[in-house]
């Protein structure tokens, strides 16, 4: 009898390592839950509450108000009837597009150029290094740099004045501010996109290009009929991740306009809005804005997921 029970005990104990897998992922998940998930849930929770600081040490709320925060966000509060949050989304989108279009166009041209065996571009390492360089630079430093360069007494204005022009208020005009922000984002990201697209092109079977060329296709035809269709998934993936990143645009406009989104809030982005409201300690409102941003990003992510899972 004793022997049998002992045997059973032994049998229950097995050589298995799978629990180690769980141990190894514990730190990640503990930290994730404490520092990300719980805060996220809290954000969502507060978005249904009236909860803000009135003055130092005095808070209103938290009072449950359902969707009132969301409703308030979509209420126009000026005579022209603009809805702030939509305006900021619009600003963000416009600035992203103005930067992203040249970013993708130039990246595509560069990627094709670099991968062309016919052109056989020399010094690729150097060019790639230079083009990627802005990406590793602090966005805040880059923005401050742009601020200095385009300021009223900066080098650009000095050149303009030297040539007999009048000082241009780059940082106080809608078009120029937006253009500067878009340009900064473009400079920072086109190198990265180039390299990713290059990897995509290099991933295409070389023999396809060779056979197309032997069949007599011109460079443009090869690009149109072989490169582009096969690059499409990566291209779209890149584009949408860039869009998601663009929606979260913050550092550049924040520093360039000192957080004001000048002029007339036309360069204020959605994350700047969150930041402003959050600094005023309005947890309810900032929670609601965050949620809206999250939902939009979620929809875009879903599209990415669908696309990347196709192949």
């Amino acid at each position: 009898m004793k022997a049998i029970s002992l045997e059973r005990k032994e049998k229950k104990k097995k050589v298995t390592y799978d629990r180690w897998g769980l141990y190894f992922i514990i730190p990640f998940f503990v930290v994730y839950f404490l520092f990300t998930l719980i805060p996220q849930l809290l954000t969502i929770f507060y978005s249904f509450f009236e909860y803000y600081r009135k003055t130092v040490g005095v808070y209103i709320g938290p009072n449950f108000i359902g969707f009132q925060n969301y409703v308030n966000l979509f209420k126009p509060i000026d005579s022209s009837g603009t809805i702030d949050i939509l305006k900021y989304f619009g600003n963000t989108t416009i600035m992203w597009i103005v930067g992203a279009l040249p970013q993708f166009l130039i990246a595509l041209i560069l990627a094709v150029m670099f991968t062309s065996t016919r052109l056989n571009v020399k010094g690729q390492g150097f060019f790639k290094t230079v083009f990627y360089l802005p990406n590793v630079i602090m966005a805040s430093a880059f923005s401050l740099l742009i601020f200095q360069v385009f300021g009223r007494v900066g080098p650009i204005n000095q050149i303009i004045v030297m040539n007999g022009g009048n000082t241009v208020d780059f940082l106080r005009q809608k078009t120029s501010v937006r253009a500067l922000i878009a340009m900064t984002n473009f400079v920072m990201w086109f190198g990265n996109t180039t390299i990713v697209l290059m990897a995509g092109i290099q991933g295409i079977d070389e023999s396809l290009f060779e056979s197309a060329r032997i069949d007599g296709a011109s460079s443009f035809k090869v690009f149109k009929d072989i490169t582009m269709p096969l690059l499409k998934p990566i291209f779209i993936y890149c584009f949408i991740t860039s869009m998601i990143g663009g929606l979260q645009m913050f550092d550049v406009p924040q520093i360039l306009t000192a957080g004001q989104g000048t002029p007339d809030f036309t360069s204020k982005t959605i994350v700047m809005f969150i930041n402003e409201v959050l600094r005023a300690k309005d947890y309810g409102k900032s929670g609601a804005i965050s949620m809206i941003l999250f939902i939009i990003t979620g929809i875009l992510s879903l599209i990415v997921y669908k696309i990347t899972n196709k192949d």
Partner: protein, 298 residues
């Protein structure tokens, strides 16, 4: 005769093709050079202006360097005219946060990726799918709740609050997982088990060294990301002894009081990007390779 004329035609064809190629090359290289000049012009202006005095900067713009570089350098380091600038403490804080964050990110992302890759525990698939799903959630969603908690617990103003969350880095996890899938045969782990190693030791002594290329790449990425991070530190850090460089630059932007020496502003910008630029220039090859293989960065 016919042979000769044919070869002449061939030669012509050949020459035309050659000329076409040369023209294409000229266009390509000009394009590249224009872009290069465009990219580098910002840095050139930065470097040039950091060599100028305040007066020079306020007068006429010139592309030539001046002689105040060291004056500006010493000024920016030791006698900053902006009261918000303390390069040393900014560097120290940024270095602490960026280094520890990147080490933690790399180590724990690898550990997590290894745990998911090498073991078959219950719910593994759910967990893998979960991490992929959370990868796309914008960090701002957490920021409201995070700030609330940090304020309530009185843990704002502490550098570790910026460091510890980096243990959970889904994007790095994803990269590491891909890398493991491509490079680590499970037999190697079994061999280590047979050789008498325990699981943790196997990870540290066999798996980590094998992941070195991926670690190096991710280390640089997470270092740069942390070094450049402006959003969360901006909300959490209020003690000026704990400000990181990006916040310091943000403050400098606010501090546009006329008394701040412009030469110093340029110098501060230069100094704050220099370490990353130097590291980048040294390791640019592997970084670019990393971008190529990862291509997941948003």
């Amino acid at each position: 005769m016919t042979n000769v004329s044919k070869s002449v035609v061939d030669n012509n064809k050949n020459r035309n093709a050659k000329i076409k190629l040369i023209i294409e090359r000229i266009i390509s290289y000009s394009f590249l050079i224009v872009l290069t000049v465009f990219c580098l012009s910002f840095f050139y202006v930065l470097v040039i202006n950091s060599t100028k005095s305040n007066d020079e900067l306020n007068s006429v713009f010139s592309l030539l360097p001046s002689k105040y570089f060291f004056e500006n350098l010493i000024g920016a380091l030791f006698h900053p005219t902006s009261q918000y600038v303390n390069i040393f403490s900014g560097f120290k804080n940024s270095l602490i946060v960026a280094l520890l964050s990147s080490v933690l990110t790399c180590y724990f992302s690898s550990l997590t990726a290894y745990g998911v890759y090498a073991y078959n525990f219950k719910g593994k698939r759910i967990i893998a799918a979960f991490i992929l799903a959370i990868m796309m959630i914008p960090s701002q969603l957490a920021s409201v709740g995070f700030l609330k908690i940090a304020v309530d617990l009185r843990i704002t103003d502490q550098l570790w609050v910026l460091i510890v969350p980096s243990i959970a880095a889904p994007a790095t996890y994803f990269y590491m997982h891909q890398y493991l899938k491509a490079t680590l045969p499970l037999e190697l782990i079994e061999a280590s088990r047979m050789d008498g190693s325990n699981e943790f030791m196997t990870f540290n002594r066999i798996v980590l060294p094998i992941m070195k290329p991926a670690l190096a790449v991710q280390m640089i990425f997470s270092f740069v990301a942390s070094w450049n991070n402006y959003y969360m530190p901006g909300l959490l850090i209020e003690d000026d002894n704990k400000t990181t460089l990006p916040i310091m630059l943000g403050l400098l932007r606010s501090d546009a009081i006329g008394k701040v020496d412009n030469g110093q502003i340029w110098m501060v910008i230069l100094l704050s990007i220099l370490p990353v630029v130097i590291v980048y220039l040294i390791l640019s090859r592997s970084i670019i390779k990393g971008v190529t293989s990862g291509s997941v960065k948003g």
